[in-house]
Each structure stands twice: as structure tokens, then as C-alpha cells.
């Protein structure tokens, strides 16, 4: 798994720069994504997960920083042709199935959009068959091809978005909360499907979600974001067994479990950024505590985290 498919370096995405309402949606984050892995991205609502995804596939021009895909800089100057190539290799499944489906287009044409742009079907019959197959892959059926998005339930629409992304046979998929709108059984279907597709085609995923039990299930590694920064990055199992950043600990303590007795007695840990007590200008950055387990911390916190984890 050592080959890097993507390298994200010091990525920044700021909105309304210089105004009172400036938002540092993504504020200097760096990480790699390995070929064939699923990297989960979790964190508070509004912390910059979607913006990270959108900047990676260049829906936004980054304020600063670089994104390398197979060693090539996505954010450098690009010809239309190069961009088209990237667009096919990197697909995004959106958080918001309503906003991302054109209400005036039939399902057939929505799903076939990428097939058309990239000329992937030899003729109309093949195009149709590809769409039918894709619909089936995501648990819909060919009768759905002639309908319009408003005739579908929330969950059904999300499956259309997945079919559309799969249509161009991409290498890398950013799935921005692809399953939050689905019922648990279809979530299971979709997650099984994403895993199968990954094994078959060697796909790489950046999987953004709030459902931590699903994220843990699907991810090889997980990154935790807080206010535009990555605060912890670790192998999935490790993150759950041994969360080190207090924000991660608070997040994990809030996962609701399908067990009423447990819920009645749950104890949540809350996170207050003041606990760090950082001095002015203190050097706070990602540091590797145990192999592959990175935490944003100061030199002082680093020493104590290392000492604690040595004892475990």
C-alpha cells in the first residue's frame, strides 16, 4: 500500500479573505492518500471536510498549497485537455443529492452525463445498457431510467449520484457523506458495493462521513479535522482504540449506539480548546506518536503522549 496516489501539501482554502467574515475553511493541511486505500475524514460540521474534498478535485482554486495526483500538480496551470483527464480520474459523490441532480434531466441522461462527456459509449444501445447496469449496481432498476429526480426519495437520489460517479470508471472517488441519507440496510449495500468495487478496480476513496461506526468499518486510515486543521491521523483501529487528541476523544464519546439502555446512561466528554493552554507562538503541528499515528500537538504534549503510549 506504499504507493502515494495523492499528496496534499499545505492546502489552504480561505473564503472572504480580508473581510470581517473571513473563514479559514481549510487551514494548512497536509496528508497523503495511498493507492487502493480508503481514507476516512471526520470532524465537526463546518470544519472543512467538504471544502478539502472540493479543493482536491479543484472545484475551488486553492488559496495556497498543492495537490499532486500521481505526481502531477492538479493545481498548477492546466490545459483543458489535462483538466478533462483529471476530471475523469477523480470523481465526487456529493453530500447533497438534491442540489447535485439537475431536476429537468431524466435519470438516463443524468447517469450518462460523464459517459457522454468522455465519449465512453460506442453507440446509443451501449450507452443505454451501461446506464441500466449502473442503476442495477446501485440497487435501482432500469425502469427508473425514464424518471425525473423529484420522483425519488432522498435515499434513491443518493444512489443516482453514486451511479453517475461510477459511470466514467474513475481511479479516485471522493465520497462526501454518500450514505447519510440512506436507510441502514441500503447503507450496508452501498458500503459493501464500494468495498467490492475497490477490490475489483483498485479504487481509492476519500470517504467523508459523520457516521463513525460506518467510517471505522470502511476506512483503512482516518483523519480527524477540527476548525480547518487536521488534528489526528491514524490507522482506523488504532484511532478508535487509542484516540489521543482530546477532540477525537470527545467525538468518539458521542457516537450514539442502537441500544436504549446504553443511551440512557451515556457519558459524553466535551472538548474545550482551552485545555491545551498553548503559549503564544508555540510550535503546534502534526507529530508522529506511534508508527502511523499522527497528532497535532506541541512539543510538550508530544513528550507526554509518547510517554503515555509507551506504557500501553
Amino acid at each position: 500500500m506504499a504507493e502515494k496516489l495523492l499528496e496534499i501539501k499545505n492546502l489552504k482554502q480561505h473564503f472572504n479573505v480580508g473581510k470581517a467574515n473571513e473563514v479559514r475553511a481549510v487551514d494548512d493541511i497536509s496528508f497523503d492518500i495511498y493507492r487502493g486505500e480508503t481514507l476516512g475524514l471526520v470532524g465537526e460540521s463546518g470544519c472543512g471536510k467538504s471544502t478539502t474534498g472540493r479543493s482536491i478535485i479543484r472545484l475551488y482554486d486553492a488559496t495556497s498549497g498543492d495537490v499532486f495526483f500521481e505526481g502531477e500538480n492538479v493545481h498548477g496551470k492546466k490545459s483543458k485537455k489535462d483538466l478533462k483527464k483529471f476530471n475523469r480520474k477523480m470523481q465526487m459523490i456529493f453530500q447533497d443529492p438534491y442540489a447535485s441532480l439537475n431536476p429537468r434531466m431524466k435519470v438516463m441522461d443524468i447517469v450518462a452525463e460523464g459517459i457522454d462527456i468522455h465519449g465512453l459509449a460506442k453507440n446509443a444501445a451501449e450507452r443505454k445498457q451501461m446506464v441500466f447496469d449502473l442503476l442495477e449496481t446501485v440497487g435501482l432498476n432500469k425502469e427508473h431510467a425514464n424518471r425525473y429526480p423529484h420522483e425519488f426519495s432522498g435515499g434513491q437520489r443518493q444512489r443516482l449520484g453514486i451511479a453517475r460517479a461510477l459511470a466514467v470508471d474513475p481511479d479516485f472517488i471522493i465520497a462526501d457523506e454518500p450514505i447519510s441519507a440512506l436507510d441502514v440496510s441500503i447503507q450496508a449495500q452501498v458500503v459493501n458495493l464500494l468495498k467490492e468495487l475497490q477490490e475489483e478496480k483498485g479504487l481509492t476513496y476519500l470517504f467523508i462521513a459523520h457516521d463513525l461506526s460506518m467510517v471505522k468499518y470502511i476506512s483503512d486510515r482516518i483523519g480527524v479535522m477540527y476548525f480547518g486543521k487536521l488534528v489526528e491521523l491514524a490507522p482506523a483501529e488504532d484511532l478508535y482504540k487509542n484516540p489521543m487528541h482530546p477532540y477525537t476523544q470527545s467525538l468518539l464519546s458521542a457516537i450514539p449506539l442502537p441500544d436504549p439502555d446504553y443511551e440512557r446512561n451515556r457519558v459524553r466528554k466535551s472538548y474545550d480548546p482551552a485545555v491545551h493552554n498553548y503559549a503564544e507562538g508555540e510550535d503546534v503541528r502534526m507529530r508522529e506518536i506511534t508508527p502511523g499515528h499522527f497528532v497535532q500537538c506541541s512539543e510538550r504534549e508530544f513528550e507526554s503522549l509518547k510517554a503515555t503510549s509507551a506504557r500501553i
Binding site: S45, V184, H210, D259, Y262, E263, R268
Partner: protein
């Protein structure tokens, strides 16, 4: 307990080019004052349509009430004029939608979207409304609310938009709050805050809440009672403990088995086989039968009535008929039943 809302024999269809989509096929439930009723069930099973029909928010040109009534404060909501409905909507019954963008106006700053309903339904000044709006935004955990009042919906993250919608719906202290996937777009910590907020509101003004969600963890946290929907019907309804620890309908069993557990090994997740019923031509008998390993001959022929499990617990499955054979639920469900006094697998100790 006082019933604040009664849904009786509700049947509703959409007239589409393809034909009549029988989206709601006989739904019955009561909502008690101050309780939280969770509705769970398959995507497309009719959860949103049921609640939108209470609010009368379905497209008039295609949606048609076929049968039944929705009683609220002595009136049948299916019969009210649009004008009468307008007075109820947003004030007495408020709704938080699955998709925040459908309830936010993309061309209006969110501050105005918050103050408008306040000015419409309450006698307060503009300055007071603004103050209330900022307080509400702070209440739902929005950082720097004063600065963000002037911003437009697209300038917020998915979860922030949803929190704005929640703030709007709470503005008028409604008697009934219908929340359709209100926290799906939120991370678990903000979700927990919002759930607390809704519970506080409930305690303060005795609001009744209908809570639609796919997240069974959230259901376990918020619900007093749970209704499980499948194929346009409620197939099981009971207290939260009855549904989680003593479920009776094979669809409920499938649902509870599909969840990954945090300490689960890396095996494939269980997913209910097959596809949802075609509501253009719903099956004659039990709509779940074709996907259920527990189906019997009668399931293909006759629609099961509700069988009583307890005073508060009913399930529509022929398996509860006295003549039905005894079947073993899935292993994960048996584990749950071990915790429930009164279930046949009860082991006496509850953790």
C-alpha cells in the same frame, strides 16, 4: 395520556405519468403530548410523505388523499383550506426537512429568514426579532452568529445550514415538531447538542416530536416510541425498548441486523436482500414477504393485520398468528431479546 395528533387509515397516492404511486397505504398512529415518536424504515417507505401530508406540503397537482383523516385540535387537517393550514404551519406544527436547501431561500440572507417567521407569528419589534434570531443561532451552536446573519445559505456548510433550519423551526415554540432527518448532516458532537436542545424544548413547552431518522443510535437516544415503516405502511410500533429488545417483524429484524458494530470484525455487512416493493403495483400480501426468509404461503396472499404484543406494542406479521410456526430470529436479534423481560429468550439480567 393526551393525544395531540391522530393519523387514521391514511392512504395517499401520487398520480404520475407511469401511473398511480401508492405511497401511503393505510397508516395509523397517535402522537401523545410531550412524547417523541421516531419513524424509521426503508428509504422510499413513505416516512417523509406521511409527515408532509400532515403539514400538507405535497404537490397539489399530483398528490391525492385517497382515504383517512389527520386529526389535530379537533380538526381534520386533510380538509382544511390552504389559508387555515398557513396559520398552523410553522406556528403550531413546525417541520425540519431532510434537505435544508429546500427550506432555505438561496437568495435571502439567513438573518432575514430567521426574523420573518418571528415577525409574522409573534408581536415583537424588528430589533427584538434580531436579538432572538442571534440567540437561536447561538443555541444551535453557530460560531459568531452576529457576523453570519448577513450571509447567504451557500456560504454555510451542510451541517450549518441544517442548524439554521432547526433554529427557524424552534423560533415559534411549536406544539408539534416534525423533524425529518434533522441531524443526518451533523457530526456526532453537534448532533448530541441538537438532540439535547430538542429535549429541553420538549420539557419546557411539552412539544411533541415526530423524529424521522435512519440512525438507530439516535432513535435509541431520543425516542419514547418507535414506528417502523415498510412499503407505505407501519409494520411495527412500540416503545423504544420493545422495538430494540423485543422486535417481532422480520423487516425490523433485518434493520437491526444491518448495523455495523464498533467492535465488529472486517466481515461483510448484512444487507436485506432484494429491492423495495414497486408502489405502482404493490404486492397483494405482506409487502416484505418476497425479501423475507421467514415468509409463509399466507404472506403472499393476505396482508397481515396488526397483532398485539403488548398494550403498547403491535406488529403486522403473520408470524404472530397463533397458528404460525415458531421461528428463530437472527442471532443479533436473539442477543437483544435476552435483555427483555417478557421475551422468550430473556435471561434475567440486563446490562
Amino acid at each position: 395520556m393526551e393525544k395531540i395528533l391522530q393519523v387514521k387509515d391514511l392512504e395517499l397516492s401520487f398520480n404520475t405519468f407511469a401511473g398511480e404511486v401508492k405511497a401511503i397505504r393505510g397508516v395509523n398512529f397517535d402522537l401523545y403530548k410531550g412524547e417523541t415518536l421516531a419513524i424509521v424504515g426503508e428509504s422510499g417507505s413513505g416516512k417523509s410523505v406521511t409527515t408532509k401530508s400532515i403539514m400538507r406540503l405535497l404537490p397539489e397537482n399530483s398528490a391525492e388523499f385517497k382515504n383517512g383523516e389527520i386529526l389535530f385540535g379537533g380538526r381534520d387537517l386533510t380538509k382544511l383550506s390552504d389559508k387555515e393550514m398557513q396559520k398552523i404551519r410553522g406556528k403550531e406544527i413546525a417541520m425540519i426537512f431532510q434537505d435544508p436547501m429546500t427550506s432555505l431561500n438561496p437568495t435571502m440572507p439567513i438573518g432575514r429568514q430567521l426574523t420573518e417567521p418571528l415577525l409574522k407569528h409573534q408581536k415583537i419589534s424588528k430589533a427584538e426579532a434580531k436579538k432572538v434570531a442571534i440567540d437561536l443561532l447561538r443555541l444551535v451552536g453557530m460560531p459568531k452568529p452576529e457576523l453570519r446573519m448577513k450571509q447567504y445559505p451557500h456560504q454555510f456548510s451542510g451541517g450549518q445550514r441544517q442548524r439554521i433550519v432547526i433554529a427557524i423551526s424552534l423560533a415559534c415554540n411549536p406544539q408539534i415538531l416534525i423533524a425529518d432527518e434533522p441531524t443526518t448532516a451533523l457530526d456526532v458532537t453537534i448532533q448530541a447538542q441538537i438532540l439535547e436542545l430538542m429535549k429541553d424544548l420538549q420539557k419546557k413547552i411539552d412539544t411533541s416530536i415526530i423524529f424521522i431518522t435512519h440512525d438507530l443510535g439516535v432513535v435509541a437516544n431520543v425516542a419514547d416510541r418507535v414506528a417502523v415503516m415498510y412499503g407505505g405502511k407501519i409494520v411495527e410500533i412500540g416503545t423504544v425498548d420493545e422495538i430494540f429488545y423485543n422486535p417481532q417483524h422480520p423487516y425490523t429484524w433485518g434493520l437491526l441486523s444491518s448495523m455495523p458494530s464498533l467492535d465488529a470484525a472486517d466481515e461483510k455487512l448484512y444487507a436485506i436482500p432484494g429491492t423495495p416493493p414497486d408502489l405502482l403495483a404493490p404486492p397483494k400480501g405482506d409487502a416484505f414477504a418476497l425479501r423475507s426468509e421467514y415468509a409463509m404461503q399466507i404472506d403472499m396472499e393476505q396482508n397481515p393485520p396488526f397483532f398485539k404484543v403488548s398494550d403498547s406494542h403491535y406488529a403486522a406479521t403473520w408470524l404472530l398468528h397463533p397458528d404460525a410456526p415458531r421461528v428463530e430470529p437472527p442471532a443479533t436479534v436473539i442477543e437483544r431479546m435476552k435483555k427483555f423481560p417478557g421475551s422468550r429468550y430473556y435471561e434475567g439480567s440486563r446490562v
